[in-house]
Symmetry: C2
Subunit: 213 residues, 2 copies
């Protein structure tokens, strides 16, 4: 069965983005610091067409999270800063012509838009009929492989509340953001049964993997 | 210099107690489950005068957290369920005649009360003139050793906001509590500079140690 795997970095106080997200500051105030463990990695550089970079305890974790993924689901704010109806087709994501997904990506939005085919195998599909529809479409596109749930917090919390997530891969950054988009907000006590599978002590971050269900 | 070390278990969504704390349910709904990693340990059983119990990856962490501690600070709700002025002297803590501290414990409260000497070296001192006074008194009592900040969330958050905490020893339990007393609530972005020292993958819990400041 194709599994839905939430893969996300949060601050120690549970935020996956800071307040005041803008086009210049897509992760809000302080939010970019969440990913400081990721940027120096060889895996990160390669995803973005670069050379060099470090291999450390996070490298294996990143490799495992990317393995056997056939499609990705994300919220619209993760795709871009445009709010409301699409004014035109000019916004094509944060990632340039060749986004680091190389598979179908399903973007949840209230505003329909035609699919957007990028270089390297990434096609953005815009889903406006809800999270269950996006998951069905993503599973079909993944052809037996798993589906990655990439965030942000709002979409992740909707899937968590609906008990549709099979695995949580959380990276906890040594950071207090204080405000912003909080993962797990609005969930009920005992809404999720978690089992800790493993934790990895890596430079500047702790990765914890949970089985849900 | 005597350090203030916050030692606390929280859910993955950041709660150190569930909602609706009562005398029968001191950690609120679901809150007792936070400590399920701790109860089977030999160290826990010994603290409460029992035999047997497990030794696992948590045992070393517990030992390190208890080492070199000369005094403890806690909030009044951690000491007991009584709210408002003390009706009498009958409440003597949750821990029986011989509490597992064996050193002076400073209880923050708005309501003065005479010190309470228990068996085994634990004396509860009730501090009604604020967190800085409690820290000064605890440091003096600790005689060069460190001071443990035991919680709950409200007291911990006050010390964190005042930048008086030197170390955070957080245990993250595989649990979503949804509501209750949330650690780190109300802090400002960047209020604390954290450096991850180490993380330990233990049965049913992840322990992370941060240096603050």
């Amino acid at each position: 069965m194709s599994r839905l795997r939430l893969s996300i970095t949060m601050s120690l106080d549970g935020y996956v983005a800071g307040p005041d997200q803008t086009e210049e500051n897509p992760l809000g105030i302080g939010g970019m610091e969440l990913h400081e463990w990721f940027f120096p990695l060889k895996a990160f550089r390669e995803m973005h067409g670069g050379d060099g970079g470090e291999v450390n305890a996070s490298s294996d974790v990143v490799g495992q999270r990317r393995a056997n993924i056939g499609a990705t689901i994300m919220g619209r704010n993760m795709f871009g800063p445009v709010r409301g109806p699409w004014p035109d087709e000019s916004w094509r994501g944060w990632w340039g012509d060749d986004p680091p997904y190389h598979h179908p990506v399903f973007v949840l939005t209230h505003h329909p838009r035609e699919p957007l085919e990028m270089d390297g195998g990434t096609t953005f599909h815009f889903v406006s009929d809800g999270i269950e529809s996006a998951l069905t479409q993503a599973r079909e596109a993944a052809q037996g492989r798993d589906v990655s749930l990439a965030g942000g917090a709002s979409v992740a919390n909707q899937y968590l509340a609906a008990q549709l997530v099979d695995e949580i891969d959380a990276s906890i950054a040594p950071l207090i953001l204080g405000r912003g988009a909080r993962l797990f907000a609005g969930l009920e006590s005992g809404a999720l049964k978690l089992q800790q599978i493993c934790a990895v002590d890596a430079p500047g971050v702790t990765h914890i993997k949970y089985e849900v269900g």
